[in-house]
Amino acid sequence: MAAVSGLVRRPLRQVTVRDAINQGMDEELERDEKVFLLGEEVAQYDGAYKVSRGLWKKYGDKRIIDTPISEMGFAGIAVGAAMAGLRPICEFMTFNFSMQAIDQVINSAAKTYYMSGGLQPVPIVFRGPNGASAGVAAQHSQCFAAWYGHCPGLKVVSPWSSEDAKGLIKSAIRDNNPVVMLENELMYGVPFEFPAEAQSKDFLIPIGKAKIERQGTHITVVSHSRPVGHCLEAATVLSKEGIECEVINLRTIRPMDIETVEASVMKTNHLVTVEGGWPQFGVGAEICARIMEGPAFNFLDAPAVRVTGADVPMPYAKILEDNSVPQVKDIIFAIKKTLNI
């Protein structure tokens, strides 16, 4: 009898990425009264993508603030608040709009601790959806992982699953440095199993640590954000053909956990990187360069290969858009080419 009851498994909770971020922010707002959220439509509208649903009702005008449509202005205000001792979460409705405010993110937030010789920290989080959505065309589909990942002084995280989203937003809010969290609109509604530890109010995912989502022996496939799911799909397909892929979810773009990638490449001898952003100067390009500089290079049996978005502004027409983002078939093709199959 005792043995049987030990085998009973409690069903895991299914939580969407949206709700995971909501939970994470809610818990941190509750934990520390210096934390507040500002951005367009975050309060009374419940969030343009409903990520901040219910927070204004719970915390009120002083903690959840609707701003006018003035990214440069409110990002600057948020940075000032962080310098003065508050812990703002500054939401960009999409990161495309952050380009209006990028001077504040880089010159006022990222560089300040360095420029002040260690005197002035800027504990701020910039978050919002990043990258391609569906049919939103050129000005609303850009991936900013490479742009923000380029800058010393910034931390940049890119969650894929609900667990990633909750753990990373909490770590970002508690971090005393400027953190950019690149979410994904198409992932907001996707449910994931939420492990027991993720339900704790102190559940944190360390910034700067990648996760091996799937163990494998033949090839290392590294990705971040939504494409991680595509990589796992490709891995499932290839597994039937006897190819076992090791899929790594970067979770953090900067500081990048290259050690996890290196250890994996030293085991599998093959590398494919997958990202939604453009190829030139992208996340994959950085991974390849670092692999060449480190111990893993000598373990490569083939050149590393990148799978990326197409090198064009995002077209609107569906057939063109579908071919401008990395698809599962492109990942499978790249893996097979690398393995010379």
Binding site: N96, Q139, N323
Partner: protein, 402 residues
Amino acid sequence: MTPSRRPAVKAWRLRGHLKETCGHPDGVSPAFGSCRNPHCLRSMRKMLAAVSRVLSGAAQKPANRVLVASRNFANDATFEIKKCDLHRLEEGPPVTTVLTREDGLKYYRMMQTVRRMELKADQLYKQKIIRGFCHLCDGQEACCVGLEAGINPTDHLITAYRAHGFTFTRGLSVREILAELTGRKGGCAKGKGGSMHMYAKNFYGGNGIVGAQGQIFEAYNMAALWKLPCIFICENNRYGMGTSVERAAASTDYFKRGDFIPGLRVDGMDILCVREATRFAAAYCRSGKGPILMELQTYRYHGHSMSDPGVSYRTREEIQEVRSKSDPIMLLKDRMVNSNLASVEELKEIDVEVRKEIEDAAQFATADPEPPLEELGYHIYSSDPPFEVRGANQWIKFKSVS
């Protein structure tokens, strides 16, 4: 008597009857017996007669034409329009204006076309034939049509994402616009731009990134400093997405916010007001005095975009009130009919023609093929020799042609 004359005579007699029994104000019978008075048997009989005529193949149109030709319309009429609020201006646009019958019919047709086109876009979006973002301007027709009436085709215009109306008034066809919305090769941007990225001669889009209040003030400064002939226009529809202007602006007197730049506040639901204000503003600029600001007070019936129901931050009563009291198309129609510039039937005929035009355009927009995959890389650079564009991996290549 030729067969086509008979219905005309009958209709005249019926009109007299309707004035007596149905209480229609001007004795004008609604088309095809659409009198709402359930007790109007004559009206029902006319409707049945009309239906049977249609079914028997006899043309209804010639009868109407005979009616129209036999009526004397006024060539033009003078109307009073609302005085504009002024900022740093001694005098403003005139408070009366002359509308010719020809112009009236043109404006009516244009506004009705924009209205129907936007409603068709709503429909296509719900059918998932249009994807992504779709920001509709129904309710704001007097702004784009009135503006165009006050400027020249050689003037330059740029706007934000609520751009379909301007795209039409700047000269593109409904076909090209709808086909762009559906992402087909017959679209004005070959399907590559979508709703927010439509361009035409002297029309610079269609832009998706807005707000940038700081940039506006920078632009005001340079325009005034260098006396640039620029009309800055604010279509104030009371809400920025889900946030009312009171919650977003320290001063909602947008026409004054150019500070050293003179400004006008205009009734944006009255196309004649918009036209006169635009003529005034354009003349001001062309005379070398520098920039000027125009705030058009208007209203959008739809939410911010198709993903916004538009009723969480405003009441249905408010929307309904604007529709019933200030609809721009209704206002023009009432003016024209009451001043004998046009008849109700004539305007209804235009409605029918517009509906057909939109239907045809929607057919085209749904049937036209998507742009070819080979052209994915085209139009990255202008005036450059062809080069290769990388696809999702290093083995997928596209050609890029200017």
